[in-house]
Amino acid sequence: MSKFQFPESITSRPVYGTLAPRPGKAHLMIADAEGAEALLDLAAQDAGLMAKAHILYIPKGTGETYVEKLRAAGPAQLYIGPSYAASVQRLRRVLSDAHMGLQVYLAGTEGLMGQAMNEAVSAGIPHSAIQTEHRGSTARRMQCVHCKGITEDVTTDPFVCSHCGLNLFVRDHYSRRLAAFQGVCIDAEDPGEIPPAKELYS
């Protein structure tokens, strides 16, 4: 079980739930890595749901671990993609033809869920109607508030902005629009004084 217990935090920090079947004619599921476990748990709750589901799955480091199990769950469509970026065009195409009543289920890393949610919201589904369940890595997408660049897969605090090189501390303040947490210069007031990096949530 790869479900992480996030510590309680500020109101803007997203809180993820547990996927549950909802009424609707069409179901769109997007997951990465261990997020497949959440989709399989969902299938166990309602096998009939899968027959109406379109799954976009990005295995990342988990390789073949979940692919056959997802196939065996009997989704109407199953796409295995090499990366989230490669799958975005397909996702947009599916959303462009979808009707109100489409149920969207997101599972896996915060970065995947945040970005996929943005696509669905841009297409016209209210964000609070989209289900999310976290599984797997707790690495964050971080936006440097100074240069606006996003650094992916951040696991330490502080960290170095992959765009402008500033040392940034990790805030829990989160922007749905950017699908990223905020990183702020850690040594602005004491230039050069950078505390040793600690693992997030340690």
Binding site: P23, K25, A98, H99, M100, G101, L102, A123, G124
Partner: protein, 328 residues
């Protein structure tokens, strides 16, 4: 921090108006058009807004909300349409029987509890009977801004279809009318199944129609945030009851045909209010003592608050029992 702290006045700001026209629309519905006495422009408003009309009916002051049906872009007049309700508390009867062109009246600035969601790619309207009124304004606003809309309007009969001919004439492809007496029914499930993402649904009409649309939408997977409704909650009459206002140190009697809020006002106590229809939360009042049952009729408090017996919305709710003491 000001030298003379300003207390908020109950209700929205008022506008003095003159009745410019009283136009019977059909046997039950009459349109009232207002202009400002100095010829000044009315404040602009957002479609879906209502105004609260003040009526002085034989010593009793009534304040009734009515949707503004006029074009928000036309600031020379405000128009409302009132359906005569012979079983009601008398507000609509007063309007129909006593209001004449030339009369001076007082109405409020517009208040909007039923706005358009301007992010929507498409707006689908479901209207029942007099519920057509807010949509008249919405359609005018969306036509101005090239918005994408569609109307499904259920009327009892052609004779009672207020503005149906006008709408169908102007917008033959977008306004769909259904007459109950001709067994024409809105194919709701079909309509709700094929809408593109980014569509918002709005329903205004009788309680049953609103419940029907909301239930079917939920069953078909629509998110709550995309389904909007406005119900004209007139305070329902009920058995008279007694209330003690502990702050004002008064005991008041609430009559059969007046709301608790109206009784409080009649006693000279200044209680906050806004919509007068159980939807906005402004009149929320704390219950200090309760021996009996509150009859909740509002859409503001949640289930837990209704069950707790600690809060009441005096604009629409009533009480049955021995003792009710309120923090007013």
């Amino acid at each position: 921090m000001s030298a003379a702290p300003q207390k908020a006045r109950a209700g929205a700001e008022k506008i003095d108006v003159v009745v410019a026209a009283v136009v019977p629309v059909n046997e039950l519905v009459t349109r009232f058009e207002f202009r400002r006495p100095d010829g000044a422009e009315f404040p602009p408003f957002s479609a879906g807004a209502h105004t609260v009309v003040e009526m002085h009916d034989e010593g009793r002051t009534r304040l009734n909300p009515y949707s503004l049906m006029s074009d928000p872009g036309d600031r020379s007049l405000y128009a409302i349409s009132v359906r005569r309700d012979d079983e009601g508390r008398g507000g609509s009867l007063y309007m129909h029987r006593h209001v004449k062109p030339g009369d001076a009246m007082t109405i409020t600035y517009p208040v909007n509890l039923f706005p358009l969601d301007l992010r929507a790619r498409k707006h689908v309207f479901f209207a029942g009977g007099i519920g057509i009124t807010p949509f008249m304004a919405m359609i005018a606003q969306l036509e101005q801004s090239n918005g994408n809309w569609e109307l499904h309007y259920a009327c009892r009969s052609a004779a009672l279809g207020s503005y149906a001919d006008e709408l169908r004439g102007k917008y033959p492809n977008k306004a769909h009318i259904y007459y109950d007496d001709q067994e024409q029914a809105i194919a709701l499930d079909d309509l709700l199944s094929g809408q593109p993402l980014g569509t918002h649904v709005y329903v205004c009409g009788p309680k049953g129609m609103i419940a029907w649309v909301k239930t079917r939408a939920a069953a078909l997977g629509w998110p709550d945030e995309a389904v909007h409704s406005e119900e004209f909650l007139a305070p329902q009459p009920g058995a008279p009851f007694e209330v003690r206002l502990c702050k004002s140190d008064l005991v008041i009697q609430v009559g059969e045909h007046e709301s608790l809020l109206e009784a409080i006002e009649r006693a000279g106590v200044d209680a906050p209010f806004l919509c007068r229809g159980g939807a906005c939360g402004q009149c929320e009042t704390d219950v200090v003592e309760l021996d009996g049952e509150i009859v909740h009729r509002d859409h503001w408090l949640d289930e837990a608050e209704h069950a707790s017996g600690k809060k009441i919305m005096p604009c629409v709710s009533r009480f049955v029992g021995k003792t009710l003491v309120l923090d007013r």
